[in-house]
Each structure stands twice: as structure tokens, then as C-alpha cells.
Symmetry: C2
Subunit: 457 residues, 2 copies
């Protein structure tokens, strides 16, 4: 609508500067050294929601990081959209690989370079500015509620409790999230599903102290070597995960569904070039799109043990550790998979070492029904601003709380992401395209318009 | 001799306090942040040698850490013993596991607790005090030269050049080193051999940046997983090293030699209890004594990659690294084994990753001829002060420069160590027994006496 276009054109620069201010706050939820900054970020989000026109805005404390809530109820008879986002970000290390400070946002080549620019500050803030657009132009077509949390990157441990305690306040007709990617601005897409997650940490302990590798080497089990052998055994020669029962409940797609999935534009040569690899890798019998979309995986996210400093130290380490996470697909339950992993990892531990396995966090996979009013509204909104219908795709990432929303609030979630896979989420030099940012702000009001219209009919 | 006993009894406490002063200097050769302390330690050693009666004492600069030289030539016609030791120490981390500061020596339970107390400050300093004893009591039976270096813990990279450039100055009849352990004070032993060493570092590189493990997980080779698989493949199910040619030149001992070796007192239950392990580990078909004495081994000394901080990060790392060292036995050449390792490790790298292998340092194995005048003198010296003949054993550790002494100076080395395997060398809470320290100072003069006597005959 012209009135939206005009308002957004007029406040374009302010929208961006407000985002840059948010990006300057290092709200790293995983690292307690940043707790003060994380709280400061929550307060900033609260202020921005108020300025945009939200009411009853509140920084709600939790056992961990706070959740920011705000709402604008124009008519209880109208449908209500609950917008979810997160203001916390991933740790920035390894810092030395950043071209500019992770928390000193820089605009370059038409992109915003900063930790959180795409995941998720840049994306949830589009909703704040789209909301402002509708409020200030008196065109808000429905009620809108905001729930912006601060623990998404560490598993949203306290969100479930918040949902339980605020069922009335969070009443809505659909949940709208922008925390995913589209194929490209030329090939807009909508996620019809997300993988679940089970994030584990393991510790292998051998001798009760670090030992001289000459005096004891060859006679005492080396925890680093044993950990390597255990991790190596978790994938077979076809890169299938070897944990007993891991695939038992995986929903198998029909040949037609797989065909449709593989029809999405994908250039393997370009993919390899972008990553600087000479070959792709993965489970035998599946395409890259399938490996990241419809198949469960197991990845080592971190491993450490022994002497890792400068030079050399002839030590036989007492302990070795690894962070290992599994992406899950529809049919798999994250708690059940976590238990299967724990039981298996403890079972394969050889004599001479002790193994401990702890669960960090996780969540179940999710599939969006494409006949849902929200999905239809998202499709039409993208069509309205991109000029073409979005391609339905399965996202490889996880937003564990999406399945939580369904179980706790009985609400479906629409994943209308405007990022790109190449945005370096969780990596150095995270970025978000200026055009993606503005395109999102332009598209979101249409979602609310088309969503509300379906209820009138 | 009574005169030695009296002198040492009289100066007992000063001997110890001087050692404690040396232990307070953090001469960590592997860490350039300690370069100033390492040089300060060399200067301290120089001063102590001069005080003890050495002449022409000099801190000799090298491309790396300095070498301290000193000598006392009483008669060119008499035999000369070249005493080698090292004033540098291993890094102290992990610091949190130390019960007291690694460089704040503490006397407790009859032991000196500090980094370097046994390896090697406490042991080379016994020679300085034994030398002082003979000088001050006018009983020096032969010429003595000291060469105390500062790069033993990082591979003695510059010692070879020093030997080449100082052949004349270093002329001697035997080299004497105390940098090894004996079975116990009740069961004194002498090392008849040492294992060689090849210390390598490997890097596995996958994608050109850390990736989101959800977006890319399952479709891109994970360097941490690949590194684990590669390391796991280096030992087969019998814990034999799988590198082609690794065992080809290993000298096989006769059944009689193995029987003699295994006759040394060894209590496996006690061994496991001391280390807190429920089972020993190692190459099938060999005893613990053989696994650490006469068999080559391969150990992971350190491994790291991905996110290793607090909490969780769903990253697929761009790189993973490991420090891997091999202990070698007579017959194996460390440069040849290093090349075999490099060739094999590069060969087993799968598509999708790049592997780089670099050599840190190493040295060849060594065997002491038991009919050598020096070995006989050491045996008699131990008998004189311990009241029983030492048990000949094969040491599992490495002093790479021992084979260098033979090739460059044409000299045999006598390994008269007074430490214990339980001294926590290279580990937190390194210690050295007060009795071991004083027993060494008491024994060493007899070595020189008996060594010199053999030349008179």
C-alpha cells in the first residue's frame, strides 16, 4: 500500500540506525560475562516497542535471561498475531577471523556486518518497524503481540515456563517468526518445516592426572585417542549415524515429495565454491538439499583435550571433551534421541576410561501445514512484494521452541524468514542484506493484512 | 667418603634453598611470554656454577634459548666428564589443578612441589652441589664440564649447532645426565636405553569459515569428525600403530632379554591405583613394562577445534587440530618415522577436507652399553650409597639429544636419574623427593671417583 511505502521511505535511515544501536549491544546469552549487556539489550527492545506504539510493554524476568513482551489490541474481535523473536546472539569467537568488530556494525557492499544482524536482531526488528508503519498510518488490520526472548541461542530453557504462566496474555491465532533464510531475493521461499535439535556434551576421563607421554605412553588409555575412536564410530562408511534406534521414527518422504524438494534451485558448483571445498559430504543416497532438510544428522560442534598451546608438550591428557549435536526430523523426539545417544555413548566406552554425557538443550522438529491461514497469508505477502510465489522448502536449522508453541499454546507457527544461507549465522562476519531488511519491513504488513482478511470472510 | 658426608651435612639447607630459588624462575621454553624469565634462569645457573667452583662459565647465546657452559680442568691427563642438564621447564597449565603455585615451591610430605623440581632443575642441580662438594674438599678426581641448556622441553633445536661449533671445548670421555627416574629408592635402577621421539602437529581444514550446523550440517565434511576418524584409524583393534612401515626397523628383543626386562619389580594393581584407572591399555602381546620400554607408541598430546567455551554453539567448525607424538625404539629413525607419518596422514585425508602436517621436533632412540666404563662407574656409585646394585631398565621417555651427543661428539651417555615415575613430570603438581635430591648429591661424587679410577688402571 502506498501509505506504507511512503512512511517507510521517509523513515528508512532511522530504521537502520536503530538496528545498528541494537547490534552494538553484545547480548551473548551463552557467556555469563555478558549478562549485564544482555539485560541492557532487553531494556532497549522494550523502549523500541513502546516508541513503535506497543502497550503493556514489559521486561519479564526469568530464571535466565529476560523475555520482552508488548502488545497492541485494537479490537478483541479481530484476529491476533503473536510475533516471536530473540535479542540474544551467538558468541562471536573466533574473533580474529572478523573483518570488523562483531559488535561494531559496519555497512559494506549493501550489507550490515555484525553479530546478530541476521540472527535475529535484524529480522525481529523488521517486525517492530512494520508494526510502527501500520500504527503510525492507522492501518493496523489486526491485534499484534510481541514476545522477544533472550535465550534462543542457548536452548530457550525458561521460555516453556513463561508460556505456561502466561497462557491468557499470549492468546493468539498464529505465531509469526522471521529467524530463517530464503533461497535468494530472486527466488523467495518459505520454510515448511524445521529440524529438531539435541545438543550433548561428553567427557572422557582416563588417568587421574595429565601424564608424561614417554613414561606412560602406550600403557595407559589416552582419553583423546579414545574420544576420537568413539566419535569416529558414530558414522558408518556411508555416513549413516550408528546410534541404535536413531532412524527408527524418521518420517520417510514419498518419491513425489523428494522430487518436489529437489526441484528447488540449487547449484552444487556454486555451493562448493562459496564454502571453498572440493567435495560435498553426507549420508549416502541423499542430495545436499535432502541431507540438510529431511535427514537427521550428527555433528561435532567442538572438541578439546590435552595441550593446545604454543609449541609442544609431551603429555598424555587426563581428559578429553566434545560438544556434539544432532539435527532431528519429523517423527523423532529430541528427549528420546538424547537418551539413545547417552546410552549408546556410555555403552561404547572401553575399559580404562570413564565417560560422562550431559544434555545441553534441544527441541522437536516441526512442519508447517501449507493449508493454514497463516501460511497462505505469508505466501500472498511475499507474492505482493517480490512479484512471485515463494518456493516451499525444508529448513535445516532448528527453532526448538516452535514445537513448544504448538504443545503449550496450541498455535501453529509461520516461518517467514528474509535471511540467506550465506549470512554466516553463528560464524565470523555475520551479515544481513540491507535489501533483505527493507524488503522484510515492506512485506510484513501485507502478512497481517491478508491474515486478517481471511477471518472476515 | 666421610669428608663428602660432612660437607654435605653442613650445607644441606643451603643446597635446598638455592634450588628453591631456581624453581621460582618460570623458565618455560615453549612459551615466548617467558623468554625474559628463561634468560634470567640461565644467568642464575651461571652464577651458581661460578660459586661452586667452575671456571670459564658463560651464558652462550643461540638462535633460541641460551646454553650455560662451565668447566673445571684440574689435569688434562685425567679423564673428563661432561655433565648435561636443562634449566627450562614444561608449561604449567592446567594451572587450576596445582595444589600450590607451580613456581612457588613448597616442601610438603618430604617432597619439593614445583614445576621443574624433578625435570630437570632438581636433578641437574645435584651435579652442581656434588661438584661443589668435591671442589671445596679438594677431592675432585677428574675434570668436569657442564652444559646446561634451555630448550630440552622444546626439542633442543639449537643444541646440535652448539655441539658442532664447540667440539674442542666439549671434548670429554663420557656424558653424564640425571634427567630420568629410578624404580624406587628401595629398588634403585639405571636406564640402559631411552625411546626416541617424533612430535607432529596436524590441521584439518574443511569449509572456509565456521558454518551453522543446522543449515550445513550433514552436507559438508566436518573437520572435527574427520580428524577423529583419521586419528582413530592410527591404531588397529590390537592397538598396533597402522602407519605403513612404522614397525619395519624396530629391533626385536630376544625372549631372554624380554624375560630380564619383565623381572623388574612391577605391581600392576598399585600402578592402576596410582593412576585411578580400572584397566591398563596398550599393544596386544606386550606387558606394561614392554609397552613403555621397548615398543614404539603413538599418542595424541592435544586436540582442539570448534566451540570449546561455556554453554553451546551450533557450529560446524572450519578447522580442527591435533598434536600427535610418537615414541621410538632402537632401529627406528625419527626423521624417517616423521616422513612416514606425514605421508600416511596426508594419504588418508578424505575428499572435502585439506590436511597439513608439520614436524615439531624429535630425536632418535638410544641404548647404553652396559660394559661401558661410565655405566660400570654408575653401577658402583649406586651400590656405594644405596647398598644394592641398580636394576637395568629401559626408560620410556626421550632425551633426543643423547643420540646427538653420540653422532656429534662421539660420546656415550650415562643416564643416572634419581627421580620417580610418580613425580608428575609434565603434569600439575610436579614433585621431587628431598631424599632423592640429597641421595643424588651423595651418589654423584662416587661416579666421578669410580670413573676416574678405571682410567688409572
Amino acid at each position: 500500500m502506498q501509505v506504507w511505502k511512503d512512511y517507510q521511505a521517509q523513515h528508512k535511515d532511522r530504521f537502520l540506525n536503530e538496528l545498528l544501536d541494537l547490534l552494538r549491544i553484545p547480548s551473548v546469552s551463552a557467556d555469563s560475562r555478558y549478562n549485564q549487556d544482555t539485560l541492557r539489550c532487553a531494556e532497549a527492545v522494550k523502549q523500541r516497542l513502546q516508541e513503535a506504539g506497543a502497550e503493556k510493554v514489559e521486561v519479564c524476568p526469568t530464571a535466565g535471561h529476560a523475555i520482552v513482551y508488548g502488545e497492541k489490541i485494537i479490537d478483541p474481535a479481530l484476529p491476533t498475531v503473536l510475533v516471536y523473536g530473540h535479542y540474544d546472539v551467538q558468541p562471536a569467537d573466533p574473533l580474529e577471523l572478523w573483518h570488523s568488530g562483531p559488535f561494531d556494525p559496519v555497512i559494506k557492499d549493501g550489507k550490515i556486518w555484525a553479530r546478530g544482524s541476521a540472527d535475529d536482531k535484524g529480522q525481529f526488528y523488521m517486525h517492530v518497524k512494520a508494526f510502527e508503519t501500520m500504527v503510525k498510518t492507522n492501518t493496523l488490520p489486526c491485534n499484534i503481540k510481541f514476545m522477544i526472548e533472550g535465550e534462543e541461542e542457548v536452548g530457550s530453557a525458561n521460555l516453556g515456563i513463561f508460556l505456561k504462566d502466561n497462557k491468557e496474555r499470549l492468546k493468539a491465532d498464529v505465531i509469526l517468526i522471521s529467524d530463517t533464510a530464503m533461497l535468494s531475493l530472486e527466488n523467495p521461499s518459505l520454510d515448511t518445516g524445521l529440524r529438531g535439535l539435541s545438543y550433548m556434551e561428553v567427557a572422557v576421563t582416563g588417568p587421574n592426572r595429565d601424564l608424561h607421554s614417554g613414561v606412560y605412553g602406550g600403557a595407559v588409555a589416552n582419553p583423546a585417542t579414545i574420544l576420537c575412536k568413539m566419535i569416529a564410530s558414530l558414522h558408518d562408511e556411508n555416513n549413516h549415524v550408528t546410534i541404535p534406534g536413531f532412524y527408527d521414527k524418521v518420517q520417510v518422504l514419498s518419491d513425489a515429495e523428494r522430487k518436489a524438494l529437489n526441484s528447488a534451485p540449487f547449484d552444487e558448483a556454486e555451493y562448493k565454491k562459496d564454502l571453498g571445498i572440493d567435495a560435498v559430504w553426507g549420508e549416502k543416497g541423499y542430495s545436499t538439499i535432502e541431507r540438510t532438510g529431511i535427514r537427521p544428522t550428527l555433528e561435532v560442534n567442538g572438541i578439546w583435550g590435552g595441550y593446545t598451546g604454543e609449541g609442544s608438550k609431551t603429555v598424555l591428557p587426563s581428559q578429553a571433551f566434545a560438544k556434539i549435536s544432532m539435527r532431528l526430523v519429523p517423527g523423532q523426539d529430541w528427549l528420546e534421541i538424547s537418551d539413545l545417544f547417552k546410552a549408546h555413548f556410555e555403552k561404547i566406552a572401553p575399559a580404562g576410561v570413564k565417560v560422562s554425557v550431559t544434555r545441553h538443550h534441544g527441541g522437536n522438529p516441526y512442519v508447517t501445514p501449507t493449508d493454514h491461514a497463516g501460511y497462505k497469508a505469508a505466501t500472498r505477502a511475499v507474492e505482493a512484494t517480490f512479484g512471485k510465489a515463494p518456493i516451499p522448502v525444508r529448513g535445516g536449522g532448528s527453532i526448538p521452541i516452535v514445537s513448544l508453541f504448538e504443545s503449550e499454546l496450541g498455535l501453529k507457527t509461520i516461518l517467514m524468514g528474509f535471511g540467506l544461507d550465506s549470512d554466516n549465522l553463528h560464524s565470523p562476519n555475520e551479515k544481513y542484506g540491507l535489501e533483505n531488511f527493507y524488503k522484510g519491513i515492506e512485506t510484513i504488513p501485507y502478512f497481517h493484512k491478508f491474515f486478517a482478511e481471511q477471518f472476515k470472510q
